[in-house]
């Protein structure tokens, strides 16, 4: 267990900058998720922490020790790769014991550790199988077992669930979270899936184009996104972000809708944000024309237009209207997000 500090970390591939000075502080035992669209530099940052990529500038410290030039094997970390990277020619047992074998651990210790990890992960019966004889979820567990046996200071996960089907992904998500809570090991987890990030993290770091857009607790990011990128990225379905300007005593959106504003609104609003679940059906609401109605059972997602402004709503009520019919909706004014012309929260 250890803290991880990333201070002004930079990375260039040739003359192309990939990371433009990133700062992250990760507390002891914390579960941090790096999330962002593909190509945002999150995997590169993880690989820099692992020691698989050189650091072009700045500093990375694990447990207070600067590791910029320390080789991966001496950083006391364990990593789970996207495609699991199990050694195909070794059995599950050999895969899990490989790091200890390299460290010349005694045979009894190796066997004991492997058994312990296998028990935690439910792999007891599979120890003599080869990776090709395992299902996706089992491979995933072996990859985690390989990380557990080493008792590392930091776990690193690089999109570990993206090769699994949706159901298994949900299951493994909670397994990983539970395991991390049990072992209380500092964990850095990379994903492009914001739901994974929201459900697993103590702290989410949202990255975009080599920069950190915002870092904080999942619900803090959901409640108070710092800019339009985070606002649009966190939350599903995504927040409605409507460009426009203040006029006629409200917010005149592109497309013609006039949306109500909360009291004491600054004058320089350029983007009006409202989450689909914060639109409510109301008799005194604004008239909206239904475009698509998608019932999911627990809620109904509705694509609609107010004048020509497209909006998405998610309602607890069951809406049976057909496309072209109208409903009346209004935003919950206490949950409206307003952003300036630079995209920052006002």
């Amino acid at each position: 267990m250890a803290t991880v500090s990333v201070r002004d970390a930079r990375k260039n591939f040739g003359s192309t900058p990939i990371l433009h000075g990133v700062n992250v502080e990760i507390g002891d035992g914390e579960f941090v998720v790096l999330v962002g669209p593909s190509g945002c530099g999150k995997s590169t940052l993880l690989r820099m922490i692992a020691g698989l990529e050189n650091i072009s500038g700045g500093e990375i410290a694990i447990g207070g020790r600067v590791v910029n030039t320390v080789p991966p094997k001496d950083r006391d970390i364990a990593m789970v790769f996207q495609n699991y990277a199990l050694y195909p020619h070794m059995t599950v047992r050999e895969n899990m014991a490989f790091s200890m074998k390299l460290a010349k651990a005694p045979r009894e210790v190796m066997e004991e550790e492997v058994q312990r990890a296998a028990k935690i992960l439910g792999l007891d019966a599979l120890l003599d199988r080869y990776p090709r004889q395992l299902s996706g979820g089992q491979r995933q567990r072996v990859a985690m077992g390989r990380a557990i046996v080493r008792h590392p200071q930091v776990f690193l996960f690089d999109e570990p669930l993206s090769n699994l089907d949706a159901k298994l992904r949900v299951q493994m998500r909670s397994e990983i979270r539970e395991l991390q809570q049990r072992l209380a090991t500092t964990t850095i987890y990379v994903t492009h899936d914001q739901i994974e990030a929201m459900t697993m993290a103590d702290q989410i770091v949202v990255m975009n184009a080599g920069r950190i857009e915002q870092a904080g607790a999942p619900l803090a990011l959901y409640d108070r996104p710092a800019n339009t990128f985070v606002a649009g990225f966190i939350g599903s379905p995504a927040m409605n972000l409507v460009p426009g300007e203040i006029s006629d005593g409200g917010f005149r959106a592109q497309g013609g809708a006039l949306l109500p504003l909360p009291p004491a609104t600054p004058a320089n609003v350029a983007t009006y944000g409202i989450r689909p679940e914060h639109l409510v059906l109301a008799e005194d609401g604004i008239e909206a024309r239904l475009v698509v109605v998608e019932p999911t059972g627990s809620e109904t997602q509705v694509a609609m237009r107010i004048a020509e402004t497209p909006l998405v709503g998610a309602f607890r009520e069951r809406i049976t209207g057909r496309p072209g019919e109208t409903i009346r909706v209004k935003p919950d004014l206490s949950l409206v997000h307003l952003f300036g012309a630079d995209g920052r929260r006002l």
Binding site: G51, P72, K73, A78, M79, F81, A85, L86, P88, P131
Partner: protein
Amino acid sequence: MSDVAASPGNTNTASAAPEQMAWDSKTRRVVLLYVPLACFLFILLFPFYWMTVTAFKPNAELYNFAEHNPLWISSPTLEHVYHLLFNTAYPKWLWTTMLVAVASTFLSLLASTLAAYAIQRLRFRGSQYVGLAIYLAYLVPPSILFIPLATMVVQLGLFDTPFALILTYPTFLIPFCTWLLIGYFKSIPYELEECALIDGATRLQILRQITLPLAVPGLISAGIFAFTLSWNEFIYALAFIQSSESKTVPVAILTELVTGDVYQWGALMAGSLLGSLPVAIFYSFFVDYYVSSLTGAVKE
């Protein structure tokens, strides 16, 4: 082809389905698959058949096609094989060829494994150019290269020894094997090595415990190629070896079994037959690896 071309389906779009079925029809398979395959096999295998038949024919049959069927043996004999094994230095030639082929294959595999791994996996300045340079070395024809090599062989005092061949064959084997192995190493996921790096392995441990075990099919096919090339090599063996008993099989049967303008066809063919057996046996053992290395990558 003809049956489909003649069918009315070509002009009538409504009968597209029957036309499609005709594509898979038996006639079509025979015409497009089995007949060309049979021709190919015949052309490929006939020389071997001729070689085998000739090796076991008595001289009387061999030179008299008027009274004997040239494609068949009436009274098979082992006299040519006997002559070859006990009246010539054939066993010695075979041994030399084997020694040279095995040693030069081993040397080449060793060097090209390290070279291919370095070029493919280590990020060093100019690795691409090194790869290109090795490839260019392969393009220099042996018929030009043997002249400077001859000077070196003589100056090193290796002339007329097996070492002359063991050390010169790698000049064309290493580039070849390196390129084959670069391709194979490329197919092994790099994450496996990164994972091993984190697990605490050194580069050499990774090579020995992760990459090489996974590259066995590639190593075997490189080995087979190298072995076959050195087994069949002619120019260097002809140029660098003089004494009769140090010759390799391809050179020896041609220089020792043709006396003046007299071709000892029986012995020549028996020599060729016995000479091609080791390679054939070699291939048959490793054919699975060989095919998998040329067709597929590492599966997890």
